[in-house]
Symmetry: C2
Subunit: 246 residues, 2 copies
């Protein structure tokens, strides 16, 4: 069954106009006809089953029942990672959305190899947020992650989160293996975490000092060296394993 986000309150028996993007996908690509059902998420993350009505004249959705379902991680996880080239950024946003991320913030690291030109940032974010929407539909999420850009790491890690961690290669090399598990065990439902991942060029000494000043906890992600775009997925899967499969 298809799964779409409607940014409005919903109730049973309500008839809702179909936003044009959903109309295009559901009617044209998926060939929905009168009576075809789909899942619709309201603006408070509740899921409903709705069916297509009046498709020949003025297509609309009739909400027919509630479908209580929560596909969200118990915590709100923000991934902050150094800017990446187009295809890697696309890929990471898509997969992190499948794995339950709440927010992705790309930042310009001191040693970033990829650069985002200031006049291209909005265009890139628009593209990445479209990818996040489509991946959230496919993985039947209750909410759509937000993709943002911050010029400075400082602004990210000085914000208010319950837990702050950084995936630091030196921690992995030093055999640090238990801090992520310990951190997740301390978290309560709805707690927030920001997890920082350096860009491909690595994290600079200045940035490490900044992270240390902000009490950001270094965590190891196992003994294998993970690429910049793979490490956030490992972290999300590990948090899910510790909190949803244990």
């Amino acid at each position: 069954m298809q799964h779409y986000f409607l940014n409005q309150p919903l109730a049973i028996d309500q008839v809702v106009a179909i936003p044009s993007l959903i109309k295009k996908h559901w009617l044209k690509v998926m060939r929905a006809v009168d009576g075809t059902k789909a899942e619709f998420v309201d603006d408070a993350q509740n899921v409903f089953i709705g069916e297509l009505i009046n498709s020949q004249i003025e297509p609309a959705i009739k909400i027919i029942e509630s479908k209580p379902f929560n596909a969200e991680l118990p915590f709100s996880i923000t991934i902050a990672c150094g800017v990446a080239k187009n295809d890697k950024a696309d890929w990471m946003v898509r997969k992190a959305t499948e794995m339950g991320v709440d927010r992705i913030i790309f930042f310009a690291g001191d040693w970033s190899i990829a650069k985002w030109q200031p006049n291209r940032v909005n265009k890139k974010l628009e593209r990445l947020n479209t990818i996040a929407l489509s991946a959230a539909e496919q993985s039947h999420r209750n909410r759509v992650p937000v993709v943002e850009y911050q010029a400075k790491l400082n602004t990210i890690v000085s914000a208010d989160y319950d837990q702050k961690v950084v995936a630091y290669e030196e921690s992995a090399k030093a055999g640090e293996e238990s801090m992520l598990h310990q951190t997740v065990n301390q978290m309560q439902p709805n707690d927030s975490m920001v997890a920082v991942f350096g860009p491909e060029g690595g994290i600079s000494p200045r940035e490490i000092e900044l992270l240390t000043d902000q009490q950001v906890q270094p965590v190891g992600l196992g003994p294998r060296i993970l690429r910049t775009e793979t490490a956030p997925l490992y972290l999300l899967a590990a948090i899910s394993a510790f909190s949803e499969l244990s």
Copy 2:
């Protein structure tokens, strides 16, 4: 430091000829010069540091010290998944290698949407094994995963493994959440597991019967719907989290 696999026994002070692929990458791409060091893995998964000597005349590697290091998962994990289109298969092999897989077997599922033509299988496997080698070098593994093809799922799941699991979407929908953790907890170091993932078209009733007959355990991978190529990575990260980070 670069990391390469030499399929031979190694010992300190030994001088080794450089295989042509390594020569091309290390000398041409990475511009190694006399005295440049790299890691070399022998045929028994031991890691050594070696340096380049005699680069102007007849380049060779001199093994200078042992570097005891194990980046392997404590278990031997085989991923069996329905054949996928080129880019998804490439991507999955690369990322599963980073995450510690031991063997990847693609199979032609009853409901596979992608098909591998019989006369193209060898060419595809050659390409995928090259990707696995390169990813194993980058993630500093002790061994290179093997990528294979089997026409029948039956041949795969009737083979001898300590644990056999299948990621079955219906298990996830039914809220099954603890079997993977329980299974991993039962495993001893060096135990083997095969994990089956259906193709994009899903697993057929005939295949489910076959899996049930072979006592393959259905496991849920959390409440979000993961794409065919993402699910194996989630499983590998979860196994690493349960066994390496706990």
